[in-house]
Symmetry: C2
Subunit: 355 residues, 2 copies
Amino acid sequence: MDDTYFMKLAFQEAKKARGSTWTNPLVGALIVKENQILSRGYHHLFGGDHAEVEAFKGLVNPNQAEGATMYVTLEPCSHYGKTPPCALKITKMGIHRVVIGQKDPNPLVCGKGIQILKEAGIQVTVLGVTAKMNEKYNFFYQQKRPFITLKYAMTLDGKINFEHGRRSLVSNHAAYLDSQKLRAAQQAILIGENTLMIDNPHLTIRTQKLAFEPIRILLVKDVDKLDPNLKIFTTNSPIWILSRHVSKRKWLPNILVFTDKNWAVTKILEFLTLHGIQSLLVEGGSHVQAAFVRKQLVDELVVYMAPKLFGGTALPAIRGVESLKVLDMKITKVKQLADNIRIEARRNDFVYRNY
Amino acid sequence: MDDTYFMKLAFQEAKKARGSTWTNPLVGALIVKENQILSRGYHHLFGGDHAEVEAFKGLVNPNQAEGATMYVTLEPCSHYGKTPPCALKITKMGIHRVVIGQKDPNPLVCGKGIQILKEAGIQVTVLGVTAKMNEKYNFFYQQKRPFITLKYAMTLDGKINFEHGRRSLVSNHAAYLDSQKLRAAQQAILIGENTLMIDNPHLTIRTQKLAFEPIRILLVKDVDKLDPNLKIFTTNSPIWILSRHVSKRKWLPNILVFTDKNWAVTKILEFLTLHGIQSLLVEGGSHVQAAFVRKQLVDELVVYMAPKLFGGTALPAIRGVESLKVLDMKITKVKQLADNIRIEARRNDFVYRNY
């Protein structure tokens, strides 16, 4: 039983909160003495106690921590946030050694948690492993923008819609269920005005109850020209409307309107970054998708392919008027979903940096 | 050792001539007496001896056929073609029983071979099995038109070309090799004038030597406006040019020009059927593909998907101006070809009839 072994168990703890930590990372912690696991803990919920604190709470007697090793998947925090800094807490509990999975990319913490521990004379080992956890959290702090996923369903001839201005059901039920899971893993979902009008979607997750629903972002020209009876306005989850014009209407508390004369893609991303949104799912339509492709702002692509040919005048998956650069991707997963195919691709130049 | 067992061996014989029988079916035959295989034969080459004759030739002594059972994968022929009718030959050789894989869908033969055998007092068993062989031969005689395969390479957003009027290499080398195999399995390949001008292809099979190269069909407006220096005209394999205008030029003997005021898709298929072409690969471009989709004339689709996004103004896989009906397909095979994906689909209403 070595560091790798205990760290694996700590990652297993971390995983338990999947879907509940919102913009916080998943973190797990173990307290180990003489190869005996004394306690396990994980960060349960956004705003709740951190994994380290949970692990300390799990000790039969706080004195047990004296001389023990703590395994924690992410560098202990060093700042007063929603809870006091864990690094400080660790130094006070008599922990002898701290083994860390990955350094925290958040500049508020990065290296500072380790520094506090070291200055207190605690032995620190950083393994530099992530167990592929907190990918979008890491990405966000590395790239200073949300991780962007484009998603669409298309036919075998690359069409997303049979006819302009009318909704066509392209993909099957299995693809629908899969896309609900995809949505559930995002902090924000973006659609354009055409998709809003034509599809009239709820944009909610109907297949599971989430602690935090993704924020639904609507990109529109004039917010006050929107039909207030659209289905999306009948739901309680948060909606952010990005409009070119200021609203004079009264909106329900779950709906916020943000105004800018030109909501270009880069502007949208700055806005989301400022609001700490780490992941964005772009659900269309064709012009919105094209705007992201044009700026080479696609980190991941999920395509559901339906066994149909629409041909001719049907709407292509991605379109626009400007000339474009080719965006090179690599296909990372191909899966059959009943009679549909799900293709997952990542940008080819995407280098995932391990902390 | 029963009929099924010996028929399986006969199909194994038939397979040996794959790629050499041109518009003739693959056929294998066995002569069996008291569970002993006395001889095996198959139809080697278009114009050559039929499988039954090959099997007889394989006997140590012709008298051995007396009282034996012949297993033949396809109903013995009844007509004087390039060789005398096999059914007649069988009756003369003293064969006691004939076990047939499938009836011959060719109206010149269908049932008549069996009739000749029965009238001669030979016991006939039709197993109604095809071992998925001669699929396009069967299709041709069932549907009275060639089996049509559409093939294109497209990006993850359904584009076949980055820019109008310029060639883009969409798919990878593995897809190229695969598409060569796909070509080799066809009796004709069709491309339109745009593809001819922009891609300037040889349309030959470079990866293997074939006994019969597919006929390359060029759909053009005015044959005499074609650049005589196009690469395709430097090759020796047959070319049929379908032109709206009569040619005044002199052409090499491998090039034939056919004229019609309107080479509509249905007209092209009638023409090919008349010439006994059982399989057609439509290789593009976008408008030619659309014409076949519009008429719901797609039996099989092979799509190579490349991990790229072209976006915007890039050329879609299939396009046209008329409104279309949806063509329902079913995906029959998905395969990874290095970093590309190969998707094979068939029309959903395609019912394969076993003879």
